[in-house]
């Protein structure tokens, strides 16, 4: 299954909150605190487990009036990094 069809959601070990449009993430397992930029924060905010990666891309294309191909590349790269850092997990099915 392609990442586009998967459903990103926060990793159970990660706590995050959006403050003034920026996501503050506490990564408990590595004792790190990170702040995402505006677009990263928006992706994190949309990663609820009910939106697929493709849904998130569509939302960003609309909100930023951007190029679909470029945003797809950015979003998938961002999510892969977030998965690698245990910030996001990808599910095959939407969260209930």
């Amino acid at each position: 299954m392609s990442i586009l069809q998967k459903y990103p959601q926060p990793h159970p070990q990660t706590a995050g909150r959006i403050i003034d449009g920026e996501a503050i993430l506490i990564l408990s397992d590595v004792s790190e605190i990170n702040v995402l930029n505006e677009v990263g924060s928006r992706i994190f905010e949309l990663s609820t487990g009910t939106n697929s990666t493709d849904d998130i891309i569509q939302t960003l294309v609309t909100e930023y009036n951007g190029d679909h191909q470029a945003i797809t590349a950015d979003v998938t790269h961002f999510l892969e990094e977030m998965v690698k850092n245990n910030v996001i997990i990808l599910s095959d099915t939407p969260a209930s």
């Binding site: 070990q13 706590a15 909150r17 403050i19 003034d20 449009g21 920026e22 503050i24 506490i26 408990s28 004792s31 605190i33 990170n34 702040v35």
Partner: protein
């Protein structure tokens, strides 16, 4: 040993959060009462927790080995535990009772740090790795990681105000306003920062940045909150506590000016702090913050 039927007590109050320690070993209780005399509450108190001290000769709970000082703590819905080399504790969150096992000559400093880090979070407060100064009856907090300049700013400020701490303070909301509270924990300046049991309304919090000039600079709120989170010892790495920790830090950032302070090694930073707030008070209508 105490032959009486009632235990000997150490009624502590730190940041208005009462904790009753009690035990039967007269020498240990006397030593701890002496050590924390400035933070003893007038008896009787209505403690948040009552902790029985169990003195165990030759107790070792963590085998010493090279590396960082070991302080282990866990928090669940039912209990809070702490363990270090010669002391360990377990607090039952439902019964509000606990037990502290310790060697006769053990310090309870880390037990108190861990316990109060958690207690503060539960009571609209934060134990913060920071320096605290009371100047003109207002509290100022200077924070940042080790090496950021907490001890330096404290040393520089010693003649200009009351040093609350160069290492740890408590920020806590009381009667709708955040206050700076002193704590009995030692930092690097054991003599110059005498661990005073002081309290003052909190005027501002500064993230320290060593520089070649003095300047109060904006700190984006999200970054400020993240910096506060990172400076909360014992709780920032505990997943179960992070929602509450984020809430407390967010609320602090909403109610207290939180900015960067660029500074060099002289007391000129106080001038720019005073000028900064004078400027704000003359240009900003009341309650518009």
């Amino acid at each position: 040993m105490n032959n009486g039927s009632s235990p000997l007590t150490i009624p502590l109050t730190i940041a208005n959060l009462p904790l009753l320690l009690q035990g039967t070993d007269e020498a240990v209780i006397a030593r701890l009462r002496q050590r924390y005399q400035d933070f003893l509450a007038p008896e009787p108190i209505d403690p948040l927790f009552t902790v029985d001290i169990n003195v165990i000769p030759d107790a070792i709970f963590v085998e010493p080995k090279p590396g960082p000082w070991v302080i282990e703590s866990t928090y669940t819905a039912d209990s809070m535990t702490y363990r270090s080399y010669v002391s360990q504790s377990r607090l039952d969150l439902k019964t509000k009772r606990g037990q502290l096992d310790m060697a006769p000559d053990a310090s309870i400093e880390n037990f108190l740090r861990v316990t109060y880090a958690w207690l503060c979070l539960q009571h609209d407060g934060l134990l913060l790795h920071s320096a605290g100064i009371i100047r003109n009856e207002l509290g100022y907090v200077f924070f940042g990681p080790s090496g950021a300049g907490k001890t330096t700013t404290t040393r520089i400020s010693a003649k200009l105000g009351t040093v609350v701490s160069d290492d740890l303070v408590i920020i806590r909301r009381l009667n709708g306003q955040y206050h700076l509270f002193g704590v009995p924990f030692r930092g690097d300046l054991a003599d110059e920062a005498p661990r005073t049991n002081s309290v003052a309304p909190l005027k501002a919090i500064f993230r320290l940045r060593q520089d070649y000039h003095h300047e109060v600079a904006p700190l984006p709120r999200s970054m400020g909150i993240a910096e506060l989170l990172a400076a909360a010892p014992f709780v920032s790495d505990k997943r179960a506590l992070t929602p509450q920790l984020i809430s407390v830090c967010t609320d602090i950032a909403r109610h207290v000016p939180l900015q960067s302070l660029h500074f060099k090694r002289d007391d000129g930073f106080w001038k720019v702090i005073d000028e900064h707030f004078t400027e704000i008070s003359t240009t900003t209508p009341a309650n518009s913050r």
